[in-house]
Structures are given as C-alpha cells and as structure tokens.
Amino acid sequence: MKPRKMESKAAKIGAYFVVIMTLVPLLWLVLLSFKTNNDILLNPLSMPKGLDFENYRNAIEKIPYLTMIKNTLIVVAVALPAAMLLAVLAAFALSRNRAIRRTVREKYRLLFVCGLIVPQSVLILPIYMMMVKLKLWNTLWSLILTFIGWSAPLSIMNLIDAFDAIPDSLEEAAIIDGCSAWQLLFRILLPLVKPALATVAIYTFLGIWNDFLLSRVMLNGVENRTISLAAMYFKGQFSTDYALMAAGVTILIVPQILVYVVLQKFIVSGSTAGAVKG
C-alpha cells in the first residue's frame, strides 16, 4: 500500500501546485496596484511600500466606471430576460407542439444547432453593416439585439432537452383539467425546467459579460462604453502607466471574483449542466 499512498500524495501536491499557480497572476496584479510606476519599471520584484491607495484614487478619477457599469447592466437587463423568454417559448413549441410533425420540429432544432459551429467572429462585420443601415450603430440596442440572436443555439439545445425529459402524463392531466397551452407552459412545465433555465441564464450572461469584439465594433465613444471594453481603454490610454492600469483592472476584477465566490455553486453547475452530451 505504501507506494500507492505516496503516489496519491504526489498527485495531490501536483494538483495544488496548479491551483496556486492559477492565483499567481491575480496576486501579482494586486501587488502591482500598490506600487508606484517607477518601482514597477525599475524594481519589478520589490514589495510595495505599505498600502498606498494612490493608484486606486487615480484610477477612479480617470476611468468612467459608473458609465461602463451602467451600460453593461442595461444590456444585461434587457437582453437576458428577452433572450430567455423567447428561448422558452420556442423550445416549448419545438419540444411539445404535436400539431406539427416531429420530423419538421426536428429540422427546426437542427437549424438552430447549426449556429454552434459558426465562429461568432465571422458574423460581426455583416452585423455592423446592418446596424449602420438601421441607424442602430453606436447604441446599446445593437448589442442587445445581437446577443438575443446569439444566445439562441445553446439555449434552444438545453431547453429542448429539458422539456423532452418531462413525461407526457403530466401534460395530459393538465389538458384534461382545461389548461390552455400558455397556462400549461408557465404554470406547470416551467417550474420543472428550472435547472435548465439556470444553465441558459448563466451561459447567456457569461456570453454578454465576456464579449469584447462585438462591443468593440459596435460602440464608439465614451458614453456608450461597456465593461468589456475597459481593457482596450486601459491599453490605449495608460499603456505606459502600469501602476494605474493594475489598479484599474483590479477594481474591475475583484468585485467579479467576489460575486463569483458567493454564487460559485450556482455558476459552476449551471455552466456545465447540459454541456456534456456527446
């Protein structure tokens, strides 16, 4: 037994080494944010001289955080519920509506799933041209409308699976009781697909949150900037002021990590449920 125990101990140490390495970039970032720019350039490895929040004050003064956060929240608050409502309706009809033949419904499903293969980066220029034509370019609407469309493939896939898993008997009982299709969906079936809804919400949210390209192409000008564009802004404005940049990035990252740690069970299980399925 002894060699095996050593083996598993070595594996554990290896795994925790990776865990600690994951933290290093973030710790380094925080460390830099308390140093002066001169220190960073001349003595990269020196420790900060105490907790000096000068960089943070500087960053908050110079970076329009409130506008960025406000814009991002507007996009999420409109796009996320809208995308989810449309996906629930479509998935319910595609999974359950027997007035349409199964093979036809299956074709619609496949059409949606095709989107998973297409890299979103190839869609951006045509969407940009459309938004310019529609006079929606440089408005948050351009992001909101696009994100609703982009969320469709993954949402549909996850929600159809969830609706398919509900036994017919439940539905029959509801129909005999005189439910309408809308009542059946919102009163009876929806509570049963809650886990899938959580998954879809998280995917859609992370898609919006992580986006950089679309926002970069669609938005121009300070008043419309979203959080995801902050990186570009830092790089462009403060490329030589490392201290300010480190503080600026820390301000954005730390709250995200905190929210994540609070909600982590929900986020991790939500983002993986339904992802593994051959």
Binding site: V18, L29, L111, V122
Partner: protein, 292 residues
Amino acid sequence: MTRFYKKRQFYAMVLPLLTFYLIMYILPVAIDFCYSFTDYRGVGAAPFVALRNYSRLLRDKYIGISIKNTLVTTGVMTLIAVPLSFFIAYTLDRKTKLNEAGKVVVFAPYVIPIALSALVWDFILNPSNGLVNSLLNAVGLGKLAQVWINGPTLSPYSFAVVMVWCSLGFYVSLWQVGIRGIDREIIEASIVDGCSSFQRVRFLILPLLKDTLISIIIFALTGGLKIYEIVYILTGGGPIHKSETIASYMYTVIFDNMEYSYGMAIAVLECLIAIVFVVFFLRSSKKNQKES
C-alpha cells in the same frame, strides 16, 4: 392532444426567436459569402470580382502565418488543458473543503472577461518588466528569459498558456460532472482486483468518460479558433503580423485596411475550418466508438 395544440401557436412561439437567430447568425454568414465575391471597401459600390479575393487568399503569406499561429495556439492549449483538467478533477475528486476550495480557485478566471485576463497576463509575460523574466533574472537564470510576447516566435505559445489559465476551471468542472456520474462500485471492484491507479484511469475511467472527453476537446478546438482578445491585447498581432491569428488578421484587414470584401473571404475560410474541425472530429470519434 393534437387538437389541444394549434399550428398557429407553434409559429407564434418559434418565429420570434427564429427571426433573431436568422438575422444574427444565418444572414451574416450569407452576407459574408456573397460579398466575398465582390470588392467592397466600406463605401461606394461593391463590384463583382468573382474569385479574386480567394486567389489573393492563396497568395497572402499572412494568411499562412495566421493559420499556423491559430493551429499552434489551439493545439498547445488543447494538449495542456485537456490532460491537466482531468488530472485536477480526478485528484481533487473527494469532497473535502480543501478540494472544493481548490476547484473554486481554478474556475475563477473563467468569470473574468478574456480581454481583462489578457491584460493581467501582460504583467506576467511582458519581456521587459513582467513577472516571469524578472524572476528569472533575479535568480540568476537570466539566460532563460525570453521574449514571451511581441517577439518573432513565442507569442502563439504564450497565447496558449493564457487560454489554459482562462478555461482550465471550466474543463475541470466538465470532467467532474463525468467522474461523479461513474458508478462507485466499478471503481471499488478495480481496487479489489489490484489495478494500479494508472491502469484504473487508462482502462476504466477514461473509456467510461469518452463523451466528456469529446465535448471537452470540441470546446477546446472551437475556443481556440475564436482566439482574438488575447492577441489584440498582448501583441496586437505584431510585430509585422507575426503573431496574427485568423480572427485577428481578419479584423486587421477589415477595420485597419478597410478591405471589407477580402475580410469576408477570410471569414468564409474561418467558417470552413470550423466546419472541418467539428465534422472531422465527430466522424473520427464515432468511428472509434464503433470499433471499440
């Protein structure tokens, strides 16, 4: 039941999302395809030029470099992330507080927007005052210090490391879902039978998790094809387009050179590569499944 559901209702429920999907997914691909046969530069007319953009694709040496870089980054990323994520998920499988905390830490970068993660890594990889080279210099291994980014060769490998950092936790949790789904009794039987832990992983657990492996590899491959933010923030594709990936080169062509049509030809190429990736991989994995 057929009378309960109405055809009209079906269309009323499906069409709204379908419309968004067609306009934001299918129509753009069609526009890419159509404009790739023209010469449109953002203003004025779009004269038909047949295959000229595509013959230019074949002669453009930056396309070759971009494809190579994309494949290197994607390949290296997949080769590191897939085994490493399995190792972590398997080793930290027992539900102790410490193990759970470890996995929370590994997943954390996944919730940071990639563009910000790239900026964080700039502080690590920057050749002049980044953490890696500073450490190497400090311990007297200055000779090992490299131009990790913005140099002639190493950028795509550095991108891969950043990608691993960003996505490792996601893969770990995918593995975990798979591992938790395995029947404990099978594992215990193998322990009684005297399997070594290597044998157990190689001949028992991995074959049982084939579906998980396939999804993770598909996630990694398609994720690698999309890589853009990291390039944009860390090197901007430079020096002289040496670290460009397909996506980043496409945007250089479109928004810096204003060659819309040529950019769309690159987009068509990127789509084709994505389709080849997915179809080829699904085919080969299906074949494997039939054989075993």
